[in-house]
């Protein structure tokens, strides 16, 4: 749209500036006030009222006629006309209008009030009556008015006054005190309608003052209004009384005198005789008579009372049922004598009388409560004996608690699960339902005995305790509980063959349970949970095992395991399978039908994290301070706009093939600390690992840091499988891996999980353009290496291990993994290392494994391994010192034996016994070196300039050392604490 167009198109303007719109409107001048005048017929400005009837409107235009509003009187000398001086009368100042008919001094001859017709007076009276009735004090205002206007008193009143009557007195002969009292008494006796009202009390008071010879005028009686309510007005409302309005003026004189009573008295006394008149003449009652109209009875004569219905619903039926109108067919039944007795009214529409009288309910008194009744019920916990340990059951039993076995079998809650199942008709659960079934037959018999004995005890309280029985029961319960306890702990630990017999029986009982559970008809393999879905082979083995279980194969476990695995692995796996089979045994058919399996297995272990994260802010901040904007402050990421967004922006999609939107994301461990650190880039980490794995001897010269070294093919690794590592760091990494293993999934097959996970998930692969030489690594390795950099300070370790031996050992990564598997839970207190170890290991064990020798143990396991790995390791121990590179080891993962963890020192290089000092020194060196590398890597990543790395690192390494050390201290304190705890536990 061009800019000139929109001046044509316009909106309605409203608001303050009105000027441009005024041109369109016709001029409408408001008439000013001084022009708003009225003129009379003669063309003069008309005044609406004179000065005396309402005052002037004042001013020039509506006043006495002059501009000033008044005409100043001209001076007239009175010297000559003193005699003829006249006083000014009000009329002199009056206007013409004041003398007109409606002025205050009308000049025309009109009848005065005194001589005005009575009717006019009646009108006023009527209004007054109405007013007086509405007034608070009835009659008061009217009375006052009468007193104030004496001119209005009638001739009768005048006559009465002449005769000595005074206002307020009654009419009649004067009375003595006693007489008067008698008189009133007589009046009372006769039941006259003139009761004595409030003035009588005062009468009693002046009894004392009354002398004998004084007579009193009779009391002026104010008749009380006994008017019955005959009209259909609302309560308290009184329309204009037609008698007063239209009727004759018979009582009018009296009314004039006593206004209050006028209405009432008339209705009291004159009501009856005027009744005839009322019948015919009442008309237009509700409308009253207009105040300004002359009463003309003819107006209302058209209307008569006969035109109105005075009664609801026609003639009174005469049956005495006022207002009740039932249909005739019901009212006809009224003749029934019986009903007459019961109900005398009319029956409402739609209702009938009941044919027979309902019997009155007999209300019995409530039962007497026993004395010790408490109105509160206390529910005892209902315990199923099969779910509760025998000891508790026993305790409950003795303490009068509810035990469902012993409870009478009526209530639903008192039934046990099997009974309820029978009632519902469900198929019985396979497998033992209680602990008792797991007991030996002999034990069971004994328990049954005891139980029956206990039952009898309960029934007959007399032979309550046979001491031996009870003792036996307690003993057996204890035994069972102990067994359960031990089984609970051992179920978490692997079951080596060399275990003691109870544990062995326990294991066998577990397998038995599994067998029982799975051999049932309800088990459906397709629907069952796949606990090892992440490792296909293992899952396959598990499936096989389950299938065999279902067939009822006794040695399902042994046959389904892979024979190529080591015995230890087999043992572990068998244990896993048994536990999994028990854990995921098929649920009841009724139950399982109600639940469906989730369609998507939610991967709760990982979260999506944006792949590219911004670098550390510190150097940027520094750059900003130096105003070096540009490369230092700029970061560029891939960003995928939504397809629709591109479309809307009329822009071709920059990534036509990709389906991602926004920043590319990758999955990371959910609770990993590294999600929130800025150094998470895996390639970076790998380089750190490289530097970390460097032997301390090569710290001064950095010959192998060139890209050529990094680009070694994976096949080179065979020669240098194991790498030198500081023994202490090796130990630390192991302990750390223990910790991480504890955190990981219980089956303990972390490495397999990870590898499969990695291969399945393409997102894990880090597509860093400048990192072609490093292959995608698995998360576990990443993590391990990350952990490598968060290392607690030296002194702490010194403090911890001050007393430990100087033994050094090496271990491979495989080893550390085994360690993970061996100790799946660090919190496990019992069977520290000896029991958890594999049979082959334990065979080689020194009799009392000390904590300080844990690394040693691991070393032994490496030695014991029959694979070729150890040999290669030994080979490389001699050869790999020159240029060990960790990253190649990582590549190895998929198709070769595993590599030792980072920072590894071969045992050949660092013999078992070394001086503590030297170790520390080495360690320090290595650490420092590593830090340098880390820094370098960061820079390298940031700038993508590989060549510069060496030079830079030398210059900048020293100052950053302390920082990173601080950081590591912060991070790892909690971890350290945990480790300390473990160690103390083991001791």
């Amino acid at each position: 749209m061009a800019s000139d167009e929109d001046s044509d198109e316009d909106f309605v303007t409203y608001g303050i500036p009105l000027e441009p719109l005024e041109e369109d409107e016709p001029i409408r001048k408001p008439v000013p006030v001084h022009e708003q005048t009225v003129k009379d017929e003669k063309g003069r400005f008309k005044r609406f009222h004179g000065a005396f009837t309402g005052g002037f409107s004042a001013g020039y235009f509506n006043t006495v006629g002059s501009k000033e509003g008044w005409a100043p009187s001209t001076f007239v000398s009175t010297r000559q006309q003193k005699a003829g001086r006249q006083n000014a009368r009000p009329e002199d100042f009056m206007d013409e209008e004041d003398f007109s008919e409606h002025g205050i001094a009308p000049q025309e001859i009109i009848t005065t009030d005194d001589f005005a017709s009575e009717r006019k007076d009646q009108l006023k009276d009527k209004a007054r009556v109405v007013n007086s009735l509405a007034a608070l004090i009835p009659g008061d205002p009217g009375l006052l008015e009468e007193l104030i206007a004496p001119a209005r008193s009638s001739i009768g009143v005048e006559l009465l006054r002449k005769m000595g009557w005074k206002d307020g007195q009654g009419v009649g002969p004067r009375l003595k005190r006693k007489q008067r009292k008698q008189n009133t008494d007589v009046a009372k006796l006769y039941g006259c309608a003139l009761p004595l009202n409030g003035s009588e009390e005062s009468e009693e008071d002046d009894d004392e003052f009354a002398p004998e010879n004084v007579t009193f005028a009779p009391k002026d009686v104010v008749p009380v209004d006994f008017t019955p309510k005959v009209d259909s007005h609302g309560l308290g409302y009184r329309g204009l009384n037609p008698l007063q309005a239209l009727g004759g003026g018979s009582e009018s004189a009296h009314i004039n005198l006593f206004t209050v009573q006028s209405d009432r008295t008339s209705s009291l006394f004159g009501g009856r005789n005027s009744g005839q008149q009322r019948r015919g003449g009442i008309a237009g009652q509700a409308f009253g008579v207009g105040a300004m109209e002359n009463e003309d009875a003819d107006i209302y004569h058209k209307d008569s009372m006969s035109n109105y219905d005075t009664v609801l619903g026609g003639e009174e039926p005469g049956d005495g049922l006022y207002g009740w109108t039932a249909p005739h067919q019901y009212s006809r039944k009224k003749n029934d004598s019986k009903r007459d007795v019961v109900y005398s009214g009319r029956i409402l529409d739609g209702f009938t009388l009941a044919s027979e009288i309902t019997e009155i309910k007999i209300v019995y008194p409530p039962p007497d409560l026993p004395r010790d009744f408490r109105p509160v019920h206390y529910f005892r916990p209902v315990v199923d004996s099969s779910t509760v340990s025998p000891i508790i059951a026993q305790a409950l039993q003795t303490s009068r608690g509810h035990l469902s076995q012993e409870a009478p079998q009526q209530g639903r809650h008192s039934l046990d699960s099997s009974q309820r199942r029978d009632m519902l008709g469900e198929t019985p659960l396979q497998g033992p339902s209680s602990v008792f079934e797991l007991l030996g037959s002999k034990d069971r018999e004994r328990l049954n005995e005891i139980r029956s004995a206990a039952k009898e005890q309960k029934k007959s309280v007399v032979n309550l305790s046979s001491a031996e029985d009870r003792a036996a029961l307690v003993a057996s319960a204890k035994a069972a509980a102990l067994q359960a306890l031990s089984s609970r702990f051992q179920s978490n630990t692997p079951q080596p063959d060399s275990l003691t017999s109870p544990a062995k029986t326990q294991a066998s009982s577990e397998t038995q349970m599994a067998l029982n559970a799975w051999s049932g008809p309800t088990a459906d393999a397709s629907k069952t949970f796949k606990p090892f879905a992440k490792i296909p082979q293992k899952q396959a083995r598990y499936d096989l095992y389950i299938n065999k279980l279902k067939k009822g194969d006794k040695d399902a476990l042994e046959s389904s395991l892979d024979s190529s695995m080591t015995e230890w692995e087999r043992g572990r796996e068998s244990d896993e399978f048994v536990r999994a089979a028990l854990l995921y045994k098929p649920s009841n058919s009724s139950l399982s039908s109600r639940f469906t399996r989730g369609k998507h297995e939610d991967d709760t272990d990982s979260v999506e994290v944006t792949r590219d994260q911004e670098n550390d802010m510190d150097d940027k901040q520094a750059a900003v301070k130096m105003k070096m904007f540009g490369k230092l402050t700029r970061e560029t990421f891939d960003w995928h706009p939504d397809k629709l967004l591109c479309k809307r922006f009329n822009i071709p999609d920059p990534y036509p093939g990709s389906s991602t939107v926004g920043m590319p994301k990758i999955k990371r461990d959910k609770y990993s600390v590294f999600n929130f650190l800025t150094v998470t880039d895996s390639s970076q980490v790998s380089r750190e690992a490289q530097s970390a794995s460097k032997p301390p001897s090569s710290s001064t010269t950095l010959p192998h840091l060139t890209p050529e070294v990094n680009k070694k093919s994976r096949w080179d690794i065979a020669g240098q499988v194991s790498e030198p590592k500081d023994p202490l760091s090796a130990f630390l990494s192991e302990t750390r891996s223990e910790v991480s293993a504890a955190k990981q999934i219980e089956p303990g097959d972390k490495n397999q999980t990870d590898s499969s996970h990695a291969s399945a998930n393409p997102e894990v692969k880090v597509a860093q353009s400048d990192e072609k030489q490093t292959e995608p690594k698995t998360e576990e390795e990443e993590k391990e290496e990350d952990e490598e950099e968060v290392r607690p300070p030296m002194d702490l370790f010194k403090a911890i291990f001050a007393s430990s031996s100087d033994e050094k050992s090496s271990s491979s990564e495989e080893d550390s993994e085994e360690e993970e598997e061996v100790a799946p839970s660090t919190s496990e207190p019992i069977q520290s290392s000896a029991e958890t170890l594999n049979p082959p290991i334990s065979a080689q064990l020194t009799p009392a494994p000390d904590i300080s020798k844990v690394p040693d143990l691991k070393h032994l396991t490496v030695q014991s391994k029959p694979s070729a790995e150890t040999t290669t390791a030994q080979n490389t121990q001699s050869s790999s010192q020159s240029a060990p590179d960790k990253s190649q080891g990582l590549d190895e993962e998929e198709f070769g034996p595993r590599l030792p963890p980072p920072g590894f020192i071969p045992s050949a290089h660092s013999p078992q016994l070394k001086k503590q000092k030297k170790k520390d020194k080495e360690k320090h060196k290595a650490k420092k070196h590593k830090k340098e590398k880390k820094k370098k890597n960061k820079k390298h990543k940031h700038k993508g300039k590989q060549k510069k790395r060496v030079e830079e690192s030398n210059s900048s390494s020293e100052d950053t050392d302390s920082n990173s050390e601080d950081e590591s201290r912060v991070v790892s304190t909690s971890e350290l604490l945990q480790r300390l705890k473990n160690i103390s536990n083991k001791r």
Partner: protein, 301 residues
């Protein structure tokens, strides 16, 4: 599609105050010209949005429908639609003629600081204090945003859209430029919380003001700084600057600052400064000021 040509205009500074309008809508939160600069929209603290004629200074229409203060408004290229955002977390698309709410878009988790149409008014982009920029489709009835840009780690304070780029300034001290054509995100670290961002007229530079009272002109492609100006009070609030913060900002004459692109800040005789860049959508028809304190809008040409 024919775009309105920006009025041919020499890059000269507005020199005199043309008109002062009492908006009577509480604090004026934002003042925006329409595409051609003939109309002015003011966002009021009384939840209303008012359309004024610049030439006559008359009120043309009042748009009510927000539940809280209106914080920003933008006019589509064809003057047919308005989009506004408010503290009530909503973005509203208005029909200019009828004054009706065409679409009310909820989704932001906090108050929405800034809103812009893209060039064809097919997308509304709103930046919120919740740190996201949401791209709302005006063409479909979809009430969900097309895309949510949640890269910012703090609230978005300012937003500009060009033909294929989106420039956001965030309180986390970064200026992000989303290049749709390249599929790239450039993050420039400024350090201090960004209050306002802008493209230069030639589209080669970005301009950002931050809470450290500095306006920086950065090269768009490399991120290098081309120019910088610091003034103690002047650039404290760049949005205010763009609108011209009323009141007595001291020494504006000193603040005249020019660079390769015509960014100019000039306060003639103590009048508010104006933004004279950005061509199409910015309020450079004459420059406008809304005094957040003075409750009035002045426009000057």
């Amino acid at each position: 599609m024919a775009f309105p040509q920006p009025r041919p205009q020499a890059p000269q500074l507005p020199q005199h105050l043309l008109r002062t309008v009492e908006c009577q809508q509480g604090a004026v939160r934002a003042v925006r010209f329409n595409a051609d600069g003939n109309y002015v929209l003011t966002c009021g603290g009384d939840k209303s949005l008012k359309l004024w004629s610049v030439s006559r200074g008359t009120l043309l229409k009042t748009y009510t429908g927000h539940g809280y203060e209106v914080l920003d408004v933008d006019c589509s290229y064809d003057n047919s639609q308005l989009c506004s955002c408010s503290s009530d977390k909503t973005v509203i698309l208005w029909d200019v003629g009828s004054g009706q709410v065409t679409r009310k878009l909820r989704g932001h988790a906090g108050k929405v600081n800034c809103v812009q149409f893209n060039e064809e008014a097919t997308v509304m982009l709103s930046g919120s204090i919740d740190g996201t920029v949401r791209c709302w489709d005006t063409r479909s009835r979809q009430m969900k945003p097309i895309q949510i840009l949640d890269e910012a780690q703090d609230g978005i304070s300012s937003l500009k859209v060009s033909e294929h780029e989106l420039l956001t300034g965030s309180v986390d001290g970064r200026v992000r430029r989303y290049d749709l054509r390249m599929g790239q995100l450039n993050v420039d670290f400024i350090g201090s919380p960004i209050t306002c961002v802008c493209f230069s007229r030639d589209g080669q530079c970005t301009l950002s003001s931050s809470l450290d009272s500095t306006v920086r002109l950065l090269d768009k492609s490399s991120g290098e700084m081309l120019g910088e100006h610091t003034h103690s009070e002047l650039f404290r609030r760049w949005p205010c600057l763009l609108l011209g913060s009323g009141g007595g900002l001291p020494d504006f004459k000193d603040a005249c600052w020019e660079s390769c692109c015509p960014i100019t800040v000039l306060p003639p005789n103590g009048a508010p400064p104006f933004d004279c860049y950005g061509g199409v959508c910015s309020g450079v028809g004459g420059g406008a000021r809304g005094c957040s304190c003075g409750r009035q809008l002045s426009s000057a040409c």
